[in-house]
Symmetry: D2
Subunit: 322 residues, 4 copies
Amino acid sequence: MKRIAVLTSGGDAPGMNAAVRAVVEQGAHHGIEVYGVYYGYKGLVEGDFRKLESKDTQHALKLGGTMLYSARFPEFAQADIQKQAFDQLKKADIDALVVIGGDGSFQGALALTKLGFPAIGIPGTIDNDIPGTEYTIGFDTAVSSALEAIDRISDTAASHNRTFVIEVMGRHAGDIAVWAGVAAGADAIVIPENAYEMEDIVHRVRQGRERGKDYSLIVLAEGVSNVDDFVEKYQALAAEQEVRGVSLSHIQRGGMPTSRDRVYATLMGARAVDCLREGKAGIYLGIQGEQLAEFDIIDTLSKAKHKLRQDLFILNRDLTQR
Amino acid sequence: MKRIAVLTSGGDAPGMNAAVRAVVEQGAHHGIEVYGVYYGYKGLVEGDFRKLESKDTQHALKLGGTMLYSARFPEFAQADIQKQAFDQLKKADIDALVVIGGDGSFQGALALTKLGFPAIGIPGTIDNDIPGTEYTIGFDTAVSSALEAIDRISDTAASHNRTFVIEVMGRHAGDIAVWAGVAAGADAIVIPENAYEMEDIVHRVRQGRERGKDYSLIVLAEGVSNVDDFVEKYQALAAEQEVRGVSLSHIQRGGMPTSRDRVYATLMGARAVDCLREGKAGIYLGIQGEQLAEFDIIDTLSKAKHKLRQDLFILNRDLTQR
Amino acid sequence: MKRIAVLTSGGDAPGMNAAVRAVVEQGAHHGIEVYGVYYGYKGLVEGDFRKLESKDTQHALKLGGTMLYSARFPEFAQADIQKQAFDQLKKADIDALVVIGGDGSFQGALALTKLGFPAIGIPGTIDNDIPGTEYTIGFDTAVSSALEAIDRISDTAASHNRTFVIEVMGRHAGDIAVWAGVAAGADAIVIPENAYEMEDIVHRVRQGRERGKDYSLIVLAEGVSNVDDFVEKYQALAAEQEVRGVSLSHIQRGGMPTSRDRVYATLMGARAVDCLREGKAGIYLGIQGEQLAEFDIIDTLSKAKHKLRQDLFILNRDLTQR
Amino acid sequence: MKRIAVLTSGGDAPGMNAAVRAVVEQGAHHGIEVYGVYYGYKGLVEGDFRKLESKDTQHALKLGGTMLYSARFPEFAQADIQKQAFDQLKKADIDALVVIGGDGSFQGALALTKLGFPAIGIPGTIDNDIPGTEYTIGFDTAVSSALEAIDRISDTAASHNRTFVIEVMGRHAGDIAVWAGVAAGADAIVIPENAYEMEDIVHRVRQGRERGKDYSLIVLAEGVSNVDDFVEKYQALAAEQEVRGVSLSHIQRGGMPTSRDRVYATLMGARAVDCLREGKAGIYLGIQGEQLAEFDIIDTLSKAKHKLRQDLFILNRDLTQR
């Protein structure tokens, strides 16, 4: 193995650059050249490659976003387009590919592997919604950014004795909501995985106020409802409260990656190089019980579902139940 | 002068607690007891007072929001309600009052002064929109929080080559937009004080892309337009760009105050005590050219208007003009 | 079980307050009153107890340090002193005790349990050096704080092409050094668990410079050497480099806890209450593979040793080896 | 004027990159090419120039340190070395130079101006110690970083009722100490400009404890004393207190620049280009009363001294005096 390429695909996630840097350095450790593919699968098809060295990635390690850029490219589902990418890789004398992105992006890695070009995935998405792995690159930073925003909002909430509903990211996965909600001491957490009763939430908030709390927080995953609609329905049942809604939107996505995101991105980036050297392909890496794990793309993504930490949801529910 | 009261009124602003702490300590320095009034003018009328000491304010100094709480209380415009507040203050043997808040809140201080109860204002509002003073408590932190969010968003913007429109607070004053926009290197800043042409903004953004920039930022003050409407109009003229809108909303309001907000809040809090000892009343404090200044409430608020830093707006316009 | 007490002991760690708050809320959930013991075991002996309610802990959740204070109190190793504490607890009609602290603190919990008073430990120390559990409250924040400081220093290091040696906490455990070092992309990590050769470190740094890096970082655990001595020895072998040493010292200890520290502190705080209700005592809680775990104080502390993540140390070593 | 060069010199300061970016963009606004000089005056003599464009500086705007690097180069005091720099600039067809650095760096700009090559200075140093200007690039970030560290330390200080002495930067100027000290609510501030009595400081701290404070902070500028020596002398007079010393060292220097540092760096960077176009040289820019100001290098540096904000020092002294 002489030459590896690496790309980032899908939504950007803090820590992707740390993974890229680890691929570069671990490659160099084994005498392998590493090429960055720009703009994801689009750049793969167009042959937008550039050699990466220590000096290119040394500072990127600590920056959010992706230095390799990302782009939507649904065309990569087509066989002829995949073949073009295959040809570009061969033309550039590249032996293997590391794909950092979400589960959609892994399908491209699988397709290339089936064409005979070894590719391996690294889970990079702030949503933490990939089956098998308990952790995805960017999730810890996203929770941290959401929490920082919620902490700020709680200052205002307390100063005016308000109830704030805070919409966080998570279309299908409530992970950000659950972690940020527990960390913020939310009165209620509302996620797509679990049903809820608006009356029950109102009750929890009222209970909190009766216990002397001077503000209330409800953390809402976007997959459940738009924050404005939620606030309207909530307010209808809780006329005595001053209720406000805030959507954290894109501020959850960027920012300098946390130590955890950098460490696990580094661990997976280096391991991806080792796996390719060992002849593995069509798999993606992950973290289970804080340790590296490997998953078959074809099996896992079709059969398994990402598991939410229900224990944390229940923890929060119990803490606010009287 | 034996006993002073202090209250916070209007929207909370980071640094208000530092001002309260300074009133307490400067009071103690002169052997004056300080009472906190809870929930602003509402608490004044209801006699919701509590003695404050070093131990109560030592940690609050560094916290956002207001430890004295705030509440809307338009009723204070009525003479009979003002008289009730006057009576409560007299009953509690309090000699003077410090009001931390916006220009609306200063009217209450003026009314009390006219009733014979000396009161003085300290400008506390994140909007920086009070005439005379160039600085209000909380403004620096609000700009800092907005900038931090914009920095985060710029990671994503660059990763996907997007244009982001970011709505910041400022109904009548573009100060947060101008400071955060210049600091973020925005391609355009849109504020209520100055007219704008959408075509001109599109041109600036395109120019930036031609110069090799990999993302674009437009900072929009809420007083001009809702971010969604703005994005729609902008997108109509710039079909080639991927445009997104984000409203920073309440995350600009809270958070630990910056050094500047704490220092000037402390300076004004201590000076307010000294002014009252010198027999001054019906005035509010401010900062001009980095130095303490005093303004008559009656004169200044009726005649003067807050002045935006047009030099900074022009600076940004020039930097992005080709 | 009607009444539980909770104390913090040993060095303060961010997230201790989140654990205290969880004990209070989970207690309330089960109709149990919770008392805070002030100043650790000293306060236990002196009967320095105060009832805690939601309003007391709601804001503390997000603050660093410990709202219950801590104090050195080696006298608690004596049987007669332990008996005094036992009597105080009985006098106050308290049924069980939660001790948040390091392994030294757990011995007190065990002693009380042996006296017939059920007590349970929660690991709270930034060093992450408690056997069995892979995580201790405060560790994630300490790594995060260290990393933030190292990121700052790296700006200066790069601007002047310097080599910085950064001393982080960890007398016997290299955990902070390893996590912060991997996250920062350190050229070398030096910890008490592993031997090192100064020549080897110099070689790595030189290699990095040859690969185009514009600065170098060495992360040193305090247990290995004083930073000044280390710099002197290093400089003697690397005369061509401009070398500086910085000790991060106490800035690693405080600060607002990260989301992770708040979530696991909350999980363990709540679980401690449940354990006591189930009749468990003489144990401490921990996290293994991201899940709650329980350990016998007597067995675990005497036999087991805390395990460093050697895989992360090796990861860093490989990444910087040519 | 067709071509301008810009360099950074002396210690790096956050916001220098924002100034560089403003020179580049304001240059482009006027159709002027901008070249970056690498490694300060050393690079000037060696002709280490590179054309800078929007894409090179767009992200650097928000980063600490200096993207142009800096280097010590005392040789530039020699006339023959200055002549070499002059020749390099002429050879590269450059018309004028912007120097971002401290007052020492301005002497080089003056020397070049005297040789007939127009050069202008921008104050960039975290120490805020340049005569005439009330503000230097990097100062606000340094105060902010110091304050953040002090806030963290205060968590530990309060948890254990300790007194912390915190050494901040400032060999000749107490500005960082005064601003960070007031913002942190320090019990005492010790700076090179003002004499102090150790007994007086001990008295203030004791007074604070008597008023119920649970911790104490003394902020010490490095120009007065080494922190360890200071702690030893202090402890000798205050045996009842648990005293600790921390030097913040290099963590004050780097980090992402604050909004204020970015805005004023941008303002001065753009103005420097305009000044050169107006035929001005041998001057440096600054901020007075929040407005742009210009100073003759020759006059100002020889006659004037930087003025500390004594009003802030006195403010702090009064607040902690009983």
